[in-house]
Structures are given as C-alpha cells and as structure tokens.
Symmetry: C2
Subunit: 338 residues, 2 copies
C-alpha cells in the first residue's frame, strides 16, 4: 500500500533540478564570481564576448556536477569552486568554437557570439577561455585534475572533428554517432563528476563510479537534446527548431528513421541531409517519418538505458541529499523530452 502511494506521489511530481540547485546554490554563486573574475582581461572585447555567452546562462549543468560530486564525496574545502569554473570555461570555449563551426545564429535563444562579434572573435575568445581554464587548474596545482581535463579536452576536439566528418553522411550508423556524442558531450560530464572525487581524495573506485555516472548521464542528455531538436516544444528551450536538420546532422533520430525507412524515404534523407536541398515542408515530413518509425520515442528509450547505467554507478555511495539529487538529475534530463 505504502509503495503504491509513494509511486502515485512520484508520478505526480515531475523530476526537476530544483533540489540539486538548492544544494549547490552557495557554491554555484562562488563559481559565478570566479567566472566573472577570471574572464577579465585588459582586452575589453574578451570580457564583453565571454560575458555574453556566460551570462546567456544555460543551467551550469557541468560545474554543478563538479560541485555536487565533491560534496557527495564529503569534500569540505573550496578547491571544487575554481575547478567547476574551469569546467564551465572549457564548455564555453567549445560552444564558441561550435557556433563558428555550425555558423549558428542563435545560442540558447539569444544571438550567438559569432553573429554579434564575428567568427574571428569567437575563435580567439574561445582560445582565451580555454587557456584561462588551464591557468586556473595550474594554480590549483593538481596534476591528476590537469590530466583529467586535458584528456577530456583532447577527446572533445576529436569528437567534434569526427562529427564534422559524419555530418551530411547518411551512411553514419548508430555506433559512429555514439562515438561522437560520447567524445563531444559525455566526456566533459564524466570529467566534471570525476574531479569531485579527486578533490575529495576518494579511492579510485569512487572516481571511476563518478566517471561512469557522468559519461552515461552525458550520453542520455545528448540523446534527448537530439530528440528535442525535432520536437515541437523545443522552441520554448531557446533553440532554433530543426537546427540539426538544417545542418544535415546525422543524429540518432535520423539514423533510426533512415535505417527503418524504404528507398523513397532514404532518397528524401539523402536529398535533404546530404545535398542539403531542403524546401518548405521538408522538416515536417522528416518529423512525420520519425514518428512513423518511432525514431524519436526509441531514441528516448536508448537514453533511458544510459540513464539506468548512470543511476547504478552511484550505487556505491551512501545515501546523501547530493546523491538523491544526482539521481533525480538523470530523470530530469530524460524527462525533458516530454
């Protein structure tokens, strides 16, 4: 009986990140202060442009992961603050370079930095933030942390190049797609979490568990992001509807629809995504094909799988408010699809 009531209670309550945000609120405020302080430069354009992208917000998911992981590991110091800022700087640098690569005009609903200041400034300010992240890590002085984040940075760049090579290629399979999102998205989630165990000086098993949690959470997060790019509600999320389609990105929803489609459908995908020959109604037709083949719902199912792995990875940690919040974060990331 109690179980049923609990389940009904659970069902009514949509997973959210309010609890997580409340737990890290003070730390996150300190992170934001470090971010503002460290992105300063006598070259005025740098804080202007960096400030634009940092302020345009996002949920600060990656630094929050570092903060919550460190506290879950019992860390009582302040080193995680600066390192969480490094994680956000690396993320911001990749966003700036991504927007140049994608020629995006919008980022989180606002004009992207490259649209406002040009590609040149976006490339160079990205380089600055990336260097600044390493300066802050060096000041922190932990070679293991430097290793984790330099490894993650190299993997992210590899993933971005791999994505560039698969863009507009309908031959891309689910395996290659997963390689791309692991590298370009999930590795930074994994690194952000793992650092929490490192600053807390926890055993290797906990480091590994947090890495696994972050990696699988990141994969699930990106899968849902790719679903949202084809779902109606996403306009509310401040992204341009159909961005991936317009660019000819081979995300999992497309890959599933392509593999499950007939010859006519594959001709459609090749024309729109390889030749980028698109006209009015093509995006709607693409979404209709995805629905016919359950490509979007099955992508969400794939995300659930990775979410389940992420949840189980935290099994070795004792129950704490941070652990509960990190578990709920998994559900929140997947639930965004609805």
């Amino acid at each position: 009986m109690a179980v049923v009531v609990e389940l009904e209670g659970e069902r009514k309550r949509k997973p959210n990140i309010d609890g997580l945000q409340a737990l890290v609120a003070d730390d996150l405020k300190a992170v934001n202060e470090v971010i503002v302080q460290k992105m300063d430069s006598p070259v005025a354009l740098i804080p202007q442009l960096a400030g634009h992208i940092v302020a345009s917000g996002g949920k600060r998911l990656r630094p929050i992961l570092t903060l919550a992981a460190a506290r879950m590991c019992g860390y009582a110091g302040t080193r995680h603050i600066g390192l969480a800022a490094c994680v956000e700087f690396i993320h911001t640098a990749t966003l700036l370079h991504d927007d140049v690569v994608d020629a995006s005009e919008l980022r989180r609903g606002a004009a992207s930095a490259n649209a406002l200041w040009g590609n040149q400034a976006s490339v160079l300010v990205g380089d600055f933030l990336f260097s600044r992240a390493f300066q802050v890590m060096v000041a922190d002085g932990s070679l293991p942390v430097l290793k984790i984040l330099s490894d993650a940075s190299a993997t992210i760049a590899e993933g971005e190049v791999l994505q560039l090579m698969t863009t507009n290629d309908t031959q891309t399979g689910e395996g290659s797609y997963l390689d791309v999102i692991k590298a370009k998205t999930a590795e930074l989630f994994a690194a952000a979490c793992r650092i929490g165990a490192v600053v807390a000086d926890r055993p290797r098993a906990e480091e590994d568990a947090l890495y696994t949690y972050g990696l699988n959470l990141g994969i699930a997060f990106q899968l849902i992001d790719d679903v949202l790019d084809y779902s109606a509600e996403q306009a509310a999320l401040g992204k341009t509807v159909g961005d991936d389609f317009k660019e000819g990105k081979l995300s999992l929803p497309v890959i599933l629809a392509f593999h499950r489609g007939n010859d006519d459908e594959r001709t459609f995908w090749r024309r729109t995504l390889e030749d980028l020959d698109q006209s009015d109604g093509d995006l709607d037709h693409a979404i209709a094909l995805m629905q016919d083949h359950r490509a979007l719902t099955d992508t969400v199912d794939r995300a659930r799988h990775y979410g389940a792995v992420a949840r189980d990875a935290l099994g070795i940690f004792p129950s704490t408010p941070q652990k509960d919040a990190l578990l709920e974060l998994v559900d929140f990331c997947i639930d965004r699809a609805y």
Copy 2:
C-alpha cells in the same frame, strides 16, 4: 690587426642558423618524432590536417629555442624533447586559428589548411593540438612548465584579440602595436626559451634571462616579418606579397608612414586600410610612401634595438656553442630584411 681580419671575415659571412640547426639536429629529429606520434588520432582528419601544417615546415624556430636553451643550461636529459613538441603544437594551433581569422589562402607558400579542409576543421584540429600539448605537459609533470605555457597561451589569445581590434584602425599607435606583437608572437618565444632553464633546474636569474632573450628576439622577429610583408624579396619566403596591406593590418611600417605622412597620405591609408577600398597600384604606392618616410628601414632599426637587448640578456651565461648560436640567431632574424 687580428681584429681587422676577424671583422672582415665576419662581414663576408651572412648570419645564418646552420650552426644552431646542427647543434640541435639530433634533438630536433627526436622532437619531430614526438610530433608525428602525438598528433595521431583514430579520427583520420586530425593527423592529415595537422600533418599538412606541421610538415609544411617552417624553421621550427620555437622548439629549437627550447632545445638550445636547455642544452646551454647544461641539461643532459630528454624532457626538453617533449616540451619542445608542446611549444610547436601550441604554435601550430595558433597558426590554424590565425588562418581562419585572417581567411588566409596561403601559409608558407602552400595552400593553408583552412583553404584545403575548411575553417571548421582548422578550428577543431587547432583545439585538438592545443589540448594535446597540455596532455604532453601533464605527462611531463612539471607545474612550473604548465604555468609558463598556459600563461603564454592566454597571453597569445589576448594578443590576437587585441590585434583584431586594431586591424583597420589607423589610430593605432606604436605602443598598441608593440603590445600586440609582444603578446601574440614574443611571449611564445620567451616561454620556449624559459622552459630550457626550468628543465635544467637553473636559478631564477637564468630563467629570467632566457625569458628576456626570447621576448626581445620575438619582437625583433615580428618587426622584421612585418617589414618583409612590404619588401620585394619576400615572395621567395613563401608568403603572399602584401598580405598585411590586403587585410588592413596596422603593422609598424604602416604606423610610421601614417604618422610621418601628410593629410593626403593619411587619406590614402584610411581608404586602403580602414575602408579596404584598394585597387591596382595601391600596394606599390604604399611601399613608395614607406620608402619616402624611411618607415621600413626605421622598423628594421627598431628591431635592432630589441635584438641588442636580447643579446645582452645572454651575458650571464658562460660561452658555449649554444650561446654563440643563439646570439647569431638574433642577427639572422634581423638580417632576413636584406
């Protein structure tokens, strides 16, 4: 008498870097092997593109500085090999990003990477090389070296942004110009040299001396580079003649000619460099104005000043073949103008 003979012998012999290259030949071979090995990636485009720019050569001046400085400091180990490769990776990453920023079609006389593979790949492979440099430094394990090169990287990015802001602005003065070239060129020369003293575990005074040598050598080098962009022989150096003029870059030869010019001349500079309204004969007219005002020869004189500071900085080191070669390098860099 002996002195006179020596001077005449000196006069006949143009300064060159053959001696320096011979001294570091074995080490440089090892650096090239590390470069090839470390730029590898399962993502095929990365070694392809990185290989193109790394192989298209240049003189490997920056890694050579690390190698020669380390040996001059009596270092007998092998750590300087990997660190010299890091210096070259950081330099290569900035070249890749520079070419995107400048929209250059040529680099050292060959098609630039962005012309062959597109801006997107150049941005991302630059990011990869930059991350890889930090991975190699982390494996080396010296926080002081990591500090030197992360500081230099941040300064380079600042310098590049500053240059972006002064491009097409004829208000740029000699001071701002010097700030730009110190940051974007000379800091990496300085860092490359300084690392030599760090791996050799030499006292701070020697670190500082090598930093001063590198910084002033780098300034002289860039000043001469800017002269070469307006001098006829430079076609032989594999650069596009008049690149800086075409892009509206405010280099010192332009700044001197502008400041020394009359109203008509300033109108010419504003039209060609601010409005980028250029037609046939404008480049020739620009060079003629520079000659009228001795702007090119006086830029070489400025370079001589920095060269002299660089030479004196090495005064605290005992005489060695490496020291002699580093002294001759200063003359070689300046002598390129003739």
